[in-house]
Amino acid sequence: MLQAQGLSKSFGRLRALDDLTATLRRGQSVALIGPNGAGKTTLLKCVLGLVRPDAGTLTLDGESLLDSPAPRRHIGYMPQIGRFPDHLRVGQLFEMMQEIRRGTHEQTDGELISALQVDRIAHKPARTLSGGMRQKVSACLAFLFDPQVLVLDEPTAGLDPVSVEVLKEKIRAERERGKLILVTSHILSDLDEIATDVLYLIEGRLRLYRPILALKAESGESRLDRVIARIARDTAGETPAGERAAS
């Protein structure tokens, strides 16, 4: 459903994405992995319409994500750093997002709002929120409009352990309901629990795109961090192998 074809983007001399082609389907939870500067954020930002690629196409169910803002109604986004207008109360923030998204969705999903107890801080001005609370608000907003695609940038960073579990459970549940999840995280043990596939980027190129179960079976490792360490070692000297299709 989400299809990238020959996606390229340079920032000056830096090639952030280099001819990336991949197809992501419903029911997948794809973990974007790679060293810093590998192009993970750039890829997410292309999907979100925040960065305009130099070349290539990006479609969601056949509709181009690059030409018009309308297909973004299917996408929910949880940014790495959520910052909201200082003097808006949390409740007003939700009202505002609902007004913006009026008519773009069939149903709202407020499950996280009560599960993360965000309803209790509705009266607080956004500037008084701690980092973890802002992260909770971001998570609620991402899931609020029941989107088909969820883009989660470091979703568990800064959250307390209980909330991390709530969020991971929600991500698993939504994937099982047939959503597509795109997630980055530096915490591989979290990804191990919520991701079904690994998309490994190095210097803007797709090195590997495989189901985690297959990777574990092939390498004989039971933990994702070991698998990734092995891949990183194996691919360190290798020339770019191009894309490998997901099975």
Binding site: L48, P79, I100
Partner: protein, 256 residues
Amino acid sequence: MMLRIVRYVAGDILRGRIILAYAGCLLVASLGLFNLGGDTTKALIGLLSLVLMIVPLVSVVFTTAHFYNTQEFVELLAAQPLPRATILLAQMIGVMLALTAALLAGIAVPVLLYACSATGLTLIAVALLLTAAFTALAFVAAVLARDKARGIGAALLIWFYFGLLHDGLTLYALFLLEDFPLEGISLTLLALNPIDLGRVLVLLQMDVSALMGYTGAMLKDLLGSGTGIGFAVLVLGSWIAAPVLAALWIFRRKDL
């Protein structure tokens, strides 16, 4: 849709202390000028320098600071099914409305109370037009510069140029070109600076154009009529429209 976002943007700014402080300072200055000087014309001239220097300065600094403070939020908005133009226009109108509210409270109310004349009304109009123009110019600087320090620096340079440098350059140009007919040149140079346009508009109402010497007399001739005023307002209007369009054009293509 845009207006819905404007409501929240302006509401957010108006709840902040900075805009209140701005309105308060303007109010204290206006009341002080009107009550201490005794002479209304003198007070209006004092208020004019305030409007010509401080209002553009606050507009550019406030606008750029606001833009960089809300960068992450603008990113979140840009990831929604909203056109980029809607988002930036909402931001611009929100900031302009908030600054306008401060001006109305801090300058318009005292002027209407103490000097409700053609001059007073022109002064209010000039303050509002300059606020919009410098807010728009600051947005251009902000959408161009990724780095906060650079963006604020560029906005300050814009203010410095129009507030101080342009006048010097105008004088120098007129001095160099004194053998040529000056009307066209000085009018062009005048049109190239929104602050000067505002100054001339107010001074022409005050009948103190004699203070401005030869050029002043000439300007009175050229701009004193209804068409002249219309021309000046039109040019000031394009000082708002052009940067608004430029900022939208850049923002639509920008990588956030």
